[in-house]
Amino acid sequence: MEIERNPLTPASEIDLREGRGIESLRAASQHAIPDPEAWMNEEIKRNLLFTTVDGALNWARKSSLWPVTAFTACCTFEFIGASSPRFDIARFGMEVLRASPRQADLLVCAGTLSWKMAPQIKRLYEQMAEPKWVVAMGACAISGGIFHDSYAVVPGYNRLVPVDVYIPGCPPRPEALLAGFETLRKKIAKDSITRPRA
């Protein structure tokens, strides 16, 4: 069977097609694409930022996490280390430790919690204004740690309050604490005001 061959397009024809394409592109490109910000004067240009409501709110919230002063045991000292100049949580806007839960939005559960103290911690959490977050710091706060089977110790803060971030260690070093706070900030950045709150 004979194979039918298409004759090759002559070079002159290819050149003509290319020429037509360039001509039409050139005709359509006689003016520069307008600057979408051209309508703004200098003043507006320097003072306007565009974002979403969520973006702005989350940015504000994650940049000003104020912890409530409620610490129960030895892990506290690593938190104190993290909050003092060497590790300096002031870099993240967290240095404002509030003595009143009404002004705080972060509960750092630092340490063993006895059942006798549990109602007070729960009450502190409930007194904090929404939105609020909880970080469980150290083995004791996560699960009761070495005291998990004790008659007097709460085996984990998550029996009382909803925990957002768990930081393991006994105690966790300040670096771990900073990493935990960073995780919390990422979590907050993904939040939305349309999400129903518990």
Binding site: S114, K116, D149, Y151, A152, P155
Partner: protein, 152 residues
């Protein structure tokens, strides 16, 4: 400057004063529960003894009896002695020393809380570490905790 009182001489003085209620052991004095307040008062207030500081009060469970241990310090004489008192397990009661040393108050409450030994004459005999309504006394050897035994 400092004189160290020795246990034997203290025991002899107490025996003279109180007779059969004092038993001298190699490193502590044992007294009966009934005589405890008198002897403690004597040790505290007698010039030359001056055991004016109660370092600590604690208790131990020997399964057939409780023993209370009082550590007394005479700062003036640079001397520490231990007083022990035996106490039955069924109706565990001991006279309180809170009237002599205020510092005994909280420690006696702790012993009451964890061993169930009650102190007669104590101004405020309540639990201190655990809460009102808690069942049992955790430092007793026969204490069983539900959560503990279930292993969770």
């Amino acid at each position: 400057m400092t004189t160290n009182l020795d246990l034997n001489s203290i025991a002899l003085r107490l025996k003279e004063q109180y007779g059969q209620v004092v038993f001298a052991e190699p490193d502590y004095l044992e007294v009966t529960a009934g005589a405890l307040p008198h002897i403690a008062g004597y040790l505290k207030n007698t010039p030359g003894l001056d055991f004016d500081f109660l370092d600590m009060v604690t208790a131990a469970d020997y399964t057939d009896r409780f023993e209370l241990i009082y550590r007394l310090v005479s700062i003036k004489n640079n001397t520490v002695i231990a007083l022990k008192v035996k106490c039955g397990r069924d109706r565990a009661e001991i006279p309180s020393l809170a009237g002599l040393w205020k510092g005994a108050q909280n420690q006696e409450r702790e012993i009451y809380d964890l061993f169930g030994i009650s102190f007669t004459g104590h101004p405020d005999m309540r639990r201190i570490v655990l809460w009102e309504g808690y069942e049992g006394h955790p430092l007793r050897k026969d204490f069983k905790e539900k959560a503990y035994d279930a292993g969770n």
